[in-house]
């Protein structure tokens, strides 16, 4: 976290980091995304809020071209998802239950996987790759854990390891899927610090979360998703009691735009 700020390898094209229009995704008869529009400027941290089943994961999948679109188009830094991926611009930080914690890889191996797109077909690491990995580990405060197996880390440390993988990759756009789920308060602060450091370098972060209070502290922008984008703007504009009631089906007592964290969290995470 002490390393000097380093410009990401992304081109300063003047295009928004994410420019998605009319995204529509169907799973059989189920409409998972219904003409969702999303525009995220380069260098912002944007929260993606929505209840379970609101299409947050589907939106991520659509952005990286993992699901076929029934309609709409995506541009990432002005490029198609395919070209953006091949240029190594996009990093995906998975939800923790998607990862096999007993998989026999070390933290340093996971972070090195971020470099594969820069390597030859055999993925033999060169000095530059080792340097990028060491730097990413230091940035995320994981250098002393580099040789641990991933399962031997706490939830927050593991999350940082995957962020480090994206940093080593040199990605400009980070898609973080529920980064605070299963993470204790102390680790949450560390992760937030790392993410803020990344914003300072001009990287773009799209963070899906149930955690409404955390979203206000972390993010410049917020997007409220319910199969389509219901609201988009500064967090305090988006997180109004009325909208939250509409999306999460609850009424926030005290009508606070920034709901308290304690006690209500279970309801948000319903």
């Amino acid at each position: 976290m002490t390393a000097p700020a380093r410009a990401p390898e992304a081109p300063a094209t003047g295009h928004p980091a994410i420019d998605a229009r009319g995204l529509t995704v169907r799973y059989g008869d189920v409409l998972a995304l219904d003409a969702a529009d999303l525009r995220v400027e380069s260098g912002t941290v944007c929260a993606l809020l929505g209840a379970n089943g609101s299409g947050k994961s589907t939106l991520f999948s659509a952005l990286i071209g993992l699901v076929p679109l029934a309609g709409g188009q995506v541009l990432l830094h002005g490029r198609t998802p395919d070209r953006a991926r091949k240029a190594g611009l996009v990093a995906y930080v998975p939800q923790s239950e998607r990862i096999d914690h007993s998989f026999p890889v070390r933290v340093v191996d996971v972070v090195m996987m971020g470099r594969y797109g820069h390597m030859g077909p055999m993925r033999r690491p060169r000095a530059a790759d080792r340097r990028a990995v060491a730097e990413a580990l230091e940035r995320t405060g994981l250098s002393h854990l580099a040789h641990r197996q991933v399962g031997a880390l706490s939830g927050g440390q593991r999350k940082r390891a995957f962020v480090a993988r994206g940093i080593a990759q040199g990605a400009d756009l980070f898609l973080l899927d529920e980064p605070f789920a299963g993470v204790d308060k102390g680790s949450e602060a560390t992760i937030t610090e790392v993410l803020h450091g990344m914003r300072e370098e001009g990287r773009t972060l799209l963070v899906s979360t149930h955690d409404l209070a955390g979203a206000g502290e972390l993010c410049d922008r917020a997007v409220l998703l319910q199969r389509r984008v219901l609201a988009e703007g500064a967090p305090e504009q988006v997180l109004t009691p009325e909208r939250l009631a509409e999306v999460f089906g609850i009424t926030a007592p005290g009508a606070s735009a920034r709901p308290r964290h304690d006690g209500q969290e279970a309801a948000w995470r319903r």
Binding site: L66, D82, I99, V105, R106, V110, Y116, G117, Q149
Partner: protein
Amino acid sequence: MEALNALVQWFTVPLQFDFMWRAMLVSVVAGAVCAVLSCWMTLIGWSLMGDAVSHAVLPGVVLSYLLGLPFAVGALVFGAGSVALIGVVNRTSRVKEDAAIGVVFTALFAVGVLLVSKIPSQTDLMHILFGNVLGVSDADIAQVLAAGAVVLAVVLVKHRDLTLYAFDRVHAHAIGLNPRRLEALLLGLLAVTVVVALQAVGIILVVAMVIVPGATAYLLTDRFERMLAIAVAVAVTASVLGTYLSFHLDAATGGAVVAVQACAFALAYLFAPRHGVAAGALRRARQARRTGEPADPASAP
């Protein structure tokens, strides 16, 4: 002294026979190649897929025999075909994937058994089912060595990509790799490996060869490179011991090799230093003594 002598003879006497050398060669090569692949099979959770592909190649092998082609050709066609068919049945019906796998591979296997029973042949095609490593021909050996070399060469070049695919295929996709292609590659390697192993242990026991060494090694280490090394060591040892056992007991070689592998797994399951049952019980007992001291996951060794 006499006991030592007997032991030495137990190992040396069979080697006077040429067929034992050949059997040993095929068993060891097949064991090692299968063991390498078994690491990914175990980590991805593809044991049912291994079972499916290994059974589904039977009609392909029989047809290759009829047409005078190398076994590997028919096995590849039917191995890949079965995987594609499983995918189609899974996607286009409400049947769940494990049922689709079960239906497709048993159907193909049944066709293979029918063909075997109706085709008159000099070399007994039943050997394909149960293996006949003590009677392998030069052509068989050449095929095993060639197919094994192909698998090992591909793995040598692609092992990091395969591990990435097994660990996090969304990341593979996100950095511009093609996870579907990696999956197809791994399934293709599986089909070729099945051909290598069926000479040694027969189609029915091939699945053991592509699962058990990896599962054993997985209990013994948290490092992938070590897992590969341990799996190969376990498999090669089992191949050598199993072939000797089958000689001395005058019993089926395939069964003997797989039985030794199973013993290795049982030992690891019980006594592995960190992930074994005994070590787990010991740890829990110690923790119970230090009551109210939950283990910090970050401070685990």
